[in-house]
């Protein structure tokens, strides 16, 4: 379905309520956690666990870069109504902040951050994006994937502080996913557990 302007306004109002001031707090916290952990990591982790943590952070960074590129495709598609475009750009900004924090943490741990690819290299299924709904559904799928990826990777961190920072990012991306589903008129993903079955 196409998002009606009134619904989009409500959506933006809700999003502002959810993330307006929260985003800055989340971002600052995530950066602090990710970058601040490294002194501790240097003294308390073995080289093997630090290398493993760098691998996890690099996977996360690659995901964030993919998300940034996907939102760029959506933003430049000409298919998004202005309120939805504003929403997409806001989500993209979150992913940029995640990526910046992750890259800094990787560098401080002695690793080499992965590089972003060109949009063409991501080979997005752009031919299937015909309207706003298609773009939103594509974005929702990526956000759901990111949430699951973080949920599947966080238990592997050797450094618990990094795990906490990863969980903070997972929370942000869960909000993106839920809001996009709401915009699509889908049922909110009200599952008791995400990314695992217990």
């Amino acid at each position: 379905m196409l998002l009606l302007p009134s619904k989009a306004s409500n959506l933006l109002a809700r999003r502002s309520l959810l993330t307006g001031s929260g985003r800055a707090v989340l971002s600052a916290t995530a950066v602090g956690l990710l970058v601040g952990c490294t002194a501790k990591a240097g003294t308390m982790q073995t080289a093997d666990t630090s290398k493993a943590d760098v691998d996890i952070l690099n996977t996360a960074l690659a995901l964030e870069y993919e998300g940034i590129a996907a939102y760029q495709v959506g933003a430049e598609s000409g298919l998004l109504q202005p309120p939805v475009l504003k929403l997409a750009v806001g989500f993209q900004s979150d992913h940029k902040e995640h990526a910046e924090a992750l890259a800094k943490a990787i560098t401080k741990l002695g690793g080499m951050p992965v590089q972003s690819k060109t949009v063409a290299e991501y080979n997005f299924p752009t031919a299937t994006l015909k309207n706003q709904t298609d773009v939103l559904r594509f974005a929702a799928g990526l956000e759901e994937g990111a949430v699951n990826a973080y949920a599947g990777a966080i238990p592997l961190f050797g450094d618990k502080t990094l795990a906490g920072a990863g969980a903070s990012i997972l929370g942000s991306e869960s909000m993106h996913w839920a809001i996009l589903r709401y915009a699509l008129g889908d049922q909110p993903p009200t599952v008791a557990f995400v990314g695992q079955s217990y």
């Binding site: 691998d55 996977t59 993919e66 080979n123 994937g145 699951n148 990826a149 949920a151 079955s197």
Partner: protein, 122 residues
């Protein structure tokens, strides 16, 4: 040595395969959502594409930048080797780039593998 260990584990899994759980592809499709942060059936992303997975040597999808550990693992993907790998990717292939903790439940793995058998046919 590593190859021999993996080969031995895979053989044990193959021998135990007859007793493994029956998989439900529909449930497996839902579980596959957990893979879709990094993987797609038909295109390389953070992880390699899954099309043509069964019978393929690990680390062999063209255009994907694998870890040396995966390229040199000697694994061929079958239901048995996937079941072992999905229990703990980093335990089976130390050094893999795949940063996923694994699926501890045998039924979840069986469902996912049943889905992959259908969805990844070339």
């Amino acid at each position: 040595m590593l190859r021999a260990c993996i080969g031995g584990l895979a053989l044990a899994l193959l021998l135990a395969g007859a007793a493994s759980a029956e998989g439900d592809p529909a449930k497996g499709e839902q579980i596959y959502h957990r893979c879709q942060g990094c993987h797609s059936i038909d295109r390389n992303r953070i992880g390699p594409m899954h099309k043509g997975l069964f019978g393929r040597p690990a680390g062999s999808v063209p255009g994907f930048d694998y870890s040396a550990a995966m390229k040199n693992s000697g694994i061929v993907w079958t239901a048995a080797t996937l079941d072992l790998f999905l229990q703990g990717p980093r335990q089976m292939v130390p050094g893999t780039k795949m940063t996923f903790v694994g699926l501890p439940k045998a039924q979840d793995r069986a469902d996912l593998i049943a889905y992959l058998e259908v969805a990844t046919k070339p």
